[in-house]
Amino acid sequence: MNRIASIALLLLFAAFLFAPYLVNPGLVFIAGFAMIEIVFALSWNLLFSYAGLVSFGHAAFFGIGAYVAAATLRYGYDIHFILVLLICAVLGAVGAFLVALIVLRRASGIQFSVLTLALSQLVVVLIGYSDYFGHDEGISAIPRPVMNFGLFTVDLNRPLANYYFVLFVCLVAVGLMWLLVKGHLGRAMQAVRIDSERAEFIGIDAWRIRVFAFTISGAFAAVAGALLAPWGQIVTPEYVNWLHSAQPIFATLLGGAGFFWGPVVGIVGLSALNYFTRTFTGLSEVLVGASLIAVVLVAPQGILGTLRQLAKRRKGPVKGGHA
């Protein structure tokens, strides 16, 4: 991580931290969405940049969290929302574990990706049949919970509390993911991504590492989904659909694959694009497409990768040099 990128990330963090005091409520609402999407995109990138797995159906795990949280809140189950978040994490993990168990035995390449897509679209279809989950309309008018923590209560109906609760949970999730990938398990995941055979010859069971990574990733995607329910107050099958599965992929490509923080930059970029083009229908899709093409053609390492390269060029060639 070079200095320019670090400063940029710190500025982004400051922007999120003070957003309610800096911008209008409409933008704060978008910032909240962006934070949730960042957690979702990071959960995907944990899989991609560390374990080397490409999931095309990650929105399914987001959907598990979103729908379970939405149903609990909407149908008035009296469960502490922190517990709901944890339950969603467990459900996301279990769902991902089962998928990994079935799919990863046979394939970890493109077949894996396509199967994740197929399974996630199956979830969309199932939701369409479900009364409980509101068919194609989804679940709307989701009430925001009030959480009692003994010493104090957090009422998500109050805008500030609502925003900072989302920020807090996102920070915890991002922190946990960061610690995981920087630790020895993250290194084992990287070993499997770079050369799974080499990894096996030092005793690493590549299959288990992949299943583990997928499970963890599913858990965090579900937590992101669960946050969406009270924040957006509506959950529809769109959040489970393949277009939403593509969101973290776009964000990672835009921000820079191979970097933990890549998707953060990517999501902020995509959200900004959406915001500035909101009045022209269809324009945002065109611009998102165009910017992706531009990134792939001009800066294939994404924004962070390009920043790193610029920094390197200034410092001269890499030490060691090519043989």
């Binding site: 946990l176 960061w178 610690l179 995981l180 920087k182 630790g183 020895h184 398990l185 290194r187 084992a188 990287q190 070993a191 770079i194 050369d195 055979e197 080499r198 990894a199 096996e200 010859f201 030092i202 005793g203 690493i204 069971d205 590549a206 191979g258 890499v318 030490k319 060691g320 040099g321 090519h322 043989a323």
Partner: protein, 255 residues
């Protein structure tokens, strides 16, 4: 007997590469396998290390049958290996390459590589990695270099570090010195001999450089078209007329 392979057969599709190869390696021995290009040496290595499964025959390790055991399990019970074309973790730095290997050893030997949330390697892991890197001639200034930019010989040396960091009992080296400069070869041979003297590690290696073979090997096996044509004391094998005809006749004089 640390390694006992009997009647190993192996085919790539219709091409049968190994025709009932048997070999036995005793503890702390250096066992060399030679043979012309395409004889099946690397294929035999694949079968012994679990990269490929035999279609017939058995592989035993200290009496335990591991014919059907996958590679990672063999690695955990004491196999270390290097590849003919060195395989390292290219996108991370030299230090991380070795750390990954040490942490794997700790994780799978009932010890602990540290808590999952520790974002830097544990101090003792780092120290051990530093020792290994230093020993194999990587100065401190290069530890944070990306491994993918290493020269061919350096890749080979780093691969040694990775393989040794798991503290194997048997080290399978497929042409460990191929592509190294003559001075690097000398250095490497010395390092291996010292390693043997210190740890009593068993080495199974293939090598085209006969000088290295005669310097290091306790026993020698000659493979030709997937069959063992001679096995035993290196001097005797060298003087065997069949061996001279298929291999040494052309190769050794050039070397």
């Amino acid at each position: 007997m640390i390694l006992d392979a009997q009647g190993i057969e192996m085919s790539y599709g219709a091409l049968k590469v190994l025709h009932g190869v048997s070999l036995q390696v005793s503890e702390s021995e250096t066992f060399a396998i030679i043979g012309p290009n395409g004889a099946g040496k690397s294929t035999l290595f694949k079968v012994l290390t679990g990269e490929r499964m035999t279609s017939a025959g058995t592989v035993r390790y200290r009496g335990e049958d591991l014919t059907k055991l996958p590679a990672f399990r063999r690695a955990r019970i004491g196999f270390g290996r290097t590849f003919q074309v060195a395989r390292i973790f290219g996108e991370v730095d030299l230090m991380t390459n070795v750390v990954i290997s040490i942490e794997a050893r700790l994780r799978y030997s009932g010890q602990s590589p540290g808590a999952w949330w520790r974002w830097t390697p544990a101090a003792d892991v780092r120290l051990e990695a530093e020792e290994i890197l230093e020993r194999f001639g990587f100065p401190r200034s290069r530890w944070s270099d990306d491994a993918q930019y290493l020269s061919h010989g350096d890749r080979k040396r780093l691969e040694f570090c990775i393989a040794l960091a798991t503290r194997p009992d048997i080290l399978m080296l497929d042409e460990p010195m191929a592509g190294m400069s003559p001075s690097d070869r000398k250095e490497m041979t010395k390092l291996l001999m010292r390693l043997k003297a210190e740890t009593g590690i068993t080495i199974v290696m293939t090598e085209h450089d006969m000088d290295i073979i005669f310097e290091m090997a306790d026993r020698l096996m000659v493979l030709s078209y997937g069959e063992v044509i001679a096995i035993g004391d290196p001097e005797k094998v060298r003087d065997d007329p069949t061996v001279r005809k298929v291999y040494l006749g052309q190769g050794y004089q050039h070397a």
